[in-house]
Point group: C2
Chain length 430, copies 2
């Protein structure tokens, strides 16, 4: 079946405007480790997908799913040890007092709960997010999104603050001044919300600011912001859907890397290597406030198969030391990008941590004018040459490289040499 006829069937069966990646969408049929195969037999190096976190079709995860699916799959109104064992292992990776969890099926459901946890514990409803974020697709959560703005406009309980940008820092200065400038914006939004009927409930952020282009922020950078939130009696929700589960190499969680102590943490995509699992981790106090204020039950959330899949991911991470691999291979790849930047003026900045990294492309290093169209052309040309990656960031000019964690130095070399060729072959001004 041709790509054109698949696209026809898609729009007939799924409706218009259903997004695909790349000018020529890829028709995938097989995956293994860091590799995927298209229907025409072509093999691609996957430098993009964080959902198959421990590698496409990891046999230990597949085996856990098969064994449990053949044994029992029910819901949490029956007792089952799977969910208890998993939550125990999961929360052991967090600092005190983050020792309780609700399991959901998606990160969107997790953030939808997190907002209600904020309401339960503060009695207020106003939420602050950055102006270049995405936290999910439910009606309530899509209210926060600036990358997919809601039809009918934002609710009066939502405020957005300028996303941090280490390459073009707020107020023109990096470091402590930048951190304070961000905190000041948050404090301003808090004051605004406090003047409304909603009051201020929560700040929700990705502690790695992934959609914002993963700015290079030092440990402690969010301290002034956390003080502002705490001083106003609000809570901090750390959306770890993207940086979590060891991807950033230095730490299991994005908030640990930046030195933030969140009240609520939300989890999603990589949690069970593609099996639909998300979750919310919080303290016993916040969990109790939520459980007392809202009755919540999720039929598929925390079912035995989902827990087996999620538990297998934690086990593979440990056994294969994938967080350490993310660190060493990520450092190596970033070094490679720095080397490429010596020959390619278009690389304005190299950023990231572990196996979540990339390069911001600019038309001019002095003016730092974003090379947005060029980044799009580069992503498409990389795809044509067998390397899957993409772009994101405030100006959508940052190459987003976020492969499955078993990514090797050899994989990084292939990605880097292909990028070198593409940057050489594609002139910026065209």
């Amino acid at each position: 079946m041709t790509v054109a006829s698949l696209l026809d069937r898609r729009s007939r069966l799924m409706g218009p405007n259903v997004s695909t990646f790349y000018d020529e969408p890829v028709h995938l049929v097989k995956g293994e480790g860091v590799w995927v195969w298209a229907a025409d037999g072509r093999k691609y190096l996957d430098c993009y997908n964080n959902v198959p976190h421990v590698g496409h079709c990891h046999p230990a995860v597949v085996d856990a799913i098969c064994r449990q699916a053949a044994t029992l799959n029910t819901h949490t109104r029956y007792l089952h040890e799977g969910i208890l064992d998993y939550i125990e292992r999961l929360t052991a990776t967090f600092g005190d007092p983050l020792s309780t969890a609700i399991l959901t099926c998606t990160g969107s459901e997790a953030n939808d709960i997190a907002l209600r946890m904020g309401e339960a514990v503060t009695g207020r409803r106003g939420v602050i997010a950055t102006d270049h974020t995405y936290h999910g697709n439910t009606t309530a959560v899509s209210q926060l999104s600036r990358t997919n703005p809601p039809t009918g406009g934002y609710g009066s309980h939502v405020r957005h603050v300028p996303a941090p940008d280490s390459y073009r820092p707020l107020g023109g200065e990096a470091g402590a001044a930048h951190a304070q400038a961000f905190a000041d914006e948050v404090a301003k939004a808090i004051a605004e919300l406090e003047k409304t009927e909603h009051g201020f409930s929560a700040l929700i952020i990705c502690p790695f600011f992934a959609n914002e282009g993963f700015p290079d922020l030092p440990k402690g950078w969010l301290e002034p912001t956390a003080n502002a939130v705490c001083g106003a009696g609000g809570v901090i929700i750390a959306d770890e859907v993207q940086p979590g589960f060891g991807r950033i190499g230095t730490h299991m969680w994005g908030h640990q890397r930046i030195g933030l102590t969140p009240d609520i943490v939300t989890l999603g995509k990589p949690m069970a290597n593609g099996h639909p699992v998300g979750g919310v981790v919080s303290s016993p106090d916040i969990m109790t406030a939520f459980r007392k204020s809202f009755r919540y039950f999720n039929t598929f959330g925390g079912n035995p198969v989902s827990c087996a899949a999620a538990d297998a991911v934690l086990e593979v991470l440990r056994q294969e030391d994938l967080m350490e691999n993310a660190k060493t291979v990520g450092d190596y790849a970033r070094q490679g990008l720095h080397q490429l930047s010596e020959q390619h003026q278009v690389i304005g900045d190299v950023r990231g941590s572990g196996l979540f990294f990339g390069a911001e492309l600019v038309r001019d290093r002095q003016s730092r004018e974003p090379a947005t169209d060029y980044a799009n052309r580069v992503a498409n040309e990389m795809r044509r040459r067998g390397i899957l990656l993409n772009k994101l960031g405030i100006h959508y000019n940052t190459l987003k490289i976020r492969p499955p964690l078993p990514f090797t130095r050899a994989n990084a070399d292939l990605m880097l040499s292909t990028l070198d060729e593409v940057l050489t072959d594609l002139p910026v001004d065209q």
Copy 2:
């Protein structure tokens, strides 16, 4: 591990108020067909679970999950035939023009989308639901729930109408008068919403009124209601999470049985036999309106493994002729309940269709006073004697019998003889 220590671990790891079934919760470890096994080796006949729709751990579904999980699991931004083949087969079971679908991970996500589809197509926001319903757990959808009322009260865009009750019909009369009385309540709620800034967007109902106690309503019963909704330019959302996929025996879908043509249909629990899959089916026009008004992407929704699992369910339903089985065994079991009602005055009414049925228990057949506590004691005593069922309905006095579809006459006989014993052994006045 004892039940007490599991409950301790649950409240420590999952928080308080996490509901379980039965006074003595069941600790399940294995399932097969219509049977489940507890950790102590005891075997239970499952007369309750609709999620393992084609039977616990059906080998064809398990096999489909294993094969696809070992081959590829990605998302819909790559092309994959699995989702297209599945949507084609799924929508073939609906009448025109319901030919397009969005796949989600839960029925809650499906209803959350359906409400936005209503907004997209009407430009309005007011929603009407019955006053004894539950449609899911997201912030937006839990606004509709009367069984789990939202903290902070209902939004001003929500109206509730009295749930239909064939045993105690609205206005005191069954049949056409009852149908008109319900339609009048809906028309009143529409008029109220039209006076607000929200206007009237959608009526959302389970077309089998499952949580309401599955009243016995004849084909065409919803016609006056549909006319009221249509006349006001609103849409009808049929939540098929409970009656769908052939469970009711006579038809694949609850709306087909009652002769309703909904604009939007939502799907969940039984869709993939426990694998987290939900969906929204609609017409190309409504889908286009939604896709143009809202950007929607769901990372796990419609992934190849979820589609393989869902497709296997459709295939097993067809191969094993399970809808027909639901009809014949359901008819047989209801006949058995009618026979029991001759000896047990507490059985006030026997209702249902296919393998979704039960008996309403009353303290007195004249006054029809609900035997709510008694129904609870019966469900718990049945569990003690190895039969899992539960109770629901407006007065929570209706036994809810909703087994996996491969339920046999022998299974029904065991359930009925045990119920006979329990009703004999448990006096109503105690």
